[in-house]
């Protein structure tokens, strides 16, 4: 859009350090090109080129109105040229306004919060204790009844969204795949095997070279061991020094605890006690 004439002006501008004349160029297609120069706040000169199309809008108005249109300006506008001033008047973005007979807030724009709320309302809420339509944590029977036994992992996807960050009542965050897992809390590392914390022993001071099978052999003497978990270092593959052993029966576990505590195994003396839940229940 810049024209040769404009360029010479720029040159002159550099020498004399004053702004060139504003230009109005009439184009062939009836539009006008208006070039204005101004100094910005930071001292830089700016050139604004606007190409506009003028259209005369004829309006038949009341003579009073026509007369008022030629009033002289006063106050802060005194002496300003006719037409809207750019400092007080601007044109806003287009607005789509669509009158509709059954207009609803939802049809147009709904706030995020509202949406979330309705999503939550629509989600199926089922208590795992009494199958009522409330969260398990809010269940009136939560102290008197245990979680229903049929809360198998297969059902969990249904439950997961509502358990939310509440983490089934323990107060701490529970990852989604572990949610809805019974009484909550406990040593979760065992995953789905660990059902009954009451029959689980914590074995510490285990030798580094110990294997799960060694522990299983030793502890099987006192009853049916359902699970052995030996914590291992991920990189070296060596035992970290503690393990969990679960029994099917609590009395077996108690016997094992008694006998195995202080048992020498691989230069070290085992320490065996009942596993505690992290929250000390």
């Amino acid at each position: 859009m810049s024209r040769p004439a404009g360029r010479t002006d720029w040159a002159a501008d550099d020498e004399e350090d004053e702004l060139p004349q504003n230009q109005i160029i009439k184009n062939k297609d009836g539009t006008e090109t208006i070039i204005t120069y101004a100094v910005r706040e930071d001292g830089k000169k700016i050139k604004t080129t606007r190409r506009i199309k003028k259209s005369v809008v004829k309006q038949i108005v009341n003579p009073r109105v026509a007369e008022r249109k030629h009033w002289e300006k006063f106050g802060q506008e005194k002496g300003k040229p006719a037409g809207p001033q750019t400092d007080t008047v601007s044109v806003a973005e287009n607005i789509v306004f669509r009158p509709t007979a059954n207009w609803k807030a939802s049809s147009d724009d709904k706030s995020e919060a509202d949406k979330k709320k309705t999503d939550l309302k629509q989600a199926k809420i089922k208590c795992r204790i009494c199958s009522g339509d409330h969260f398990t944590t809010k269940c009136p029977f939560k102290d008197t009844m245990g979680v229903a036994d049929d809360a198998t992992p297969a059902e969990m996807p249904d439950d997961a969204p509502q358990a939310g960050g509440a983490g089934a009542g323990s107060g701490s965050y529970v990852p989604p795949h572990l949610r809805g897992r019974g009484a909550g809390g406990g040593e979760k590392m065992g995953g789905k095997y660990e059902r009954d914390d009451l029959a689980t022993l914590r074995v510490t001071n285990v030798s580094e070279i110990a294997e799960e099978q060694d522990l299983r052999d030793m502890f099987s003497r006192y009853g049916h061991v359902t699970r052995v978990f030996l914590a291992k270092d991920r990189e070296t593959g060596r035992a970290k020094g503690f393990a969990f052993v679960s029994y099917a029966d609590r009395s077996d576990a108690a016997k094992a605890c008694e006998k195995m505590d202080g048992y020498g195994f691989g230069h070290l003396i085992l320490r065996v006690e009942f596993a505690k839940k992290p929250d000390g229940k």
Partner: protein, 381 residues
């Protein structure tokens, strides 16, 4: 309006703003399906004020918009292109209210500097100042322009009152110093007031949600009725008249607007919204009302613009059903005013902007199915 319209052609000065407007318009007239009609409006943004707008008004011909804000200055704008042609200087405090007489020669304003002032519209000359012990919350001319009322605030020992002055429509004439009527509002202060048809009644909306009707001549209280929720927080924030002043609409902080008859104070229609309302206007030509409001200004910073509900709401006047909203402001709408010929409206917001909207053809085409059927039946007769 009995003035015969000359066929005199006036060529509007086409400033750059106007020209942008006339660039290819994106509205689609081809879309003729009865329910889906888009109105694309390009509002003109008037940014002459530095603080929150308190009232905006069209003159009776609709060619001028007057705006007052808390920045002490009154501005006058041409409504068709947003050009500001003058400002009125003299007030020493926030302005609450403005009104123009039917001939667009006199302008009345009231504000927190405890004065009510009269100006010459054309030149910005201050003609008269009335002083009061408290601020002026609302001024309004009667339909004939011979009377001017002002609503004074209640404060420290002064009861709220409504004062009425006789106005001489001649610019050069001396205006009366003394009021001809003073109505004391003992129980609950008046927040808004206006003259009914023929100045027969003075209708006032109160702080406690009641509306009362006073005799226009004697000032005697004729009737008082609880219209909005009776709570101090639920004051009536606006009262605007239908063109013939036989009924009016009130807006209240109790989130509703109501249309009442001027002579019986019977509630005809209720428009229940979900946000406190600051203003309500009745549109001529189409049977709509426009409601403006939003969360109270002091709570605004705690929410996003979306939740603040800073939109002009269009309701159907008769079916009392919401038909659409117009976004734009980023603060609550303090006042909405409708062009007296029904061709547009403007809104003044807490954000300091006046937005002037001109309605497009689809706005006037919009009809309910029953209205359409009725028109059909009439044309078949």
């Amino acid at each position: 309006m009995t003035a015969h319209f000359n066929t005199k052609t006036s060529i509007s000065e086409v400033g750059s703003v106007k020209i942008h407007k006339s660039c290819p318009t994106p509205h689609t007239p081809s879309d003729t399906s009865p329910h889906i009609r888009y109105i694309i409006m390009r509002p003109i943004l008037l940014s002459g004020h530095e603080r929150a707008l308190t009232q905006v008004k069209y003159n009776p011909d609709g060619d001028i918009i007057f705006s007052v804000s808390k920045d002490h200055v009154v501005c006058a704008w041409y409504s068709h292109n947003g050009e500001r042609f003058g400002t009125y200087h003299g007030h020493q405090g926030a302005l609450w209210t403005v009104d123009v007489d039917p001939t667009s020669t006199l302008l009345a304003t009231g504000g927190a500097d405890n004065t009510m002032r009269l100006w010459e519209v054309k030149t910005g000359r201050l003609l008269k100042t009335w002083e009061f012990p408290t601020s002026i919350k609302r001024v309004e001319f009667s339909a004939d322009g011979r009377q001017l009322l002002g609503v004074t605030e209640r404060r420290s020992g002064h009861t709220g009152s409504i004062v009425v002055y006789e106005i001489n429509p001649d610019v050069e004439a001396e205006q009366a110093d003394e009021h001809v009527l003073r109505i004391i509002c003992e129980d609950s202060k008046a927040t808004v007031a206006g003259f009914s048809y023929l100045a027969q009644y003075i209708i006032a909306g109160h702080e406690d949600g009641t509306v009362s009707q006073y005799d226009g001549k004697s000032g005697e209280l004729l009737y008082n009725t609880q219209v909005h929720e009776p709570d101090v927080q639920n004051q009536i924030t606006d009262l605007q008249w239908a063109p013939d002043r036989t009924y009016f609409i009130t807006a209240s902080k109790d989130k509703s607007a109501k249309i009442l008859a001027a002579d019986s104070l019977e509630v005809f229609k209720t428009y229940q919204t979900d946000t406190p309302l600051n203003s309500a206007a009745i549109t001529p030509v189409k049977d709509f009302v426009i409601l403006g409001g939003g969360q109270a200004a002091m709570d605004v910073t705690t929410t996003s613009a979306r939740q603040g509900k800073f939109e002009a709401r269009f309701w159907h006047k008769i079916f009392a059903e919401e038909i659409g909203r117009v976004r734009g402001h980023f603060g609550p709408l303090n006042y909405v005013a409708v062009h007296p010929q029904g061709t547009g409206y403007c809104s003044g917001g807490e954000d300091g902007y006046v937005r002037v909207h001109h309605f497009d053809k689809p706005y006037f085409d919009f009809l309910y199915e029953v209205e359409r059927e009725q028109l059909q039946a009439q044309s078949n007769l």
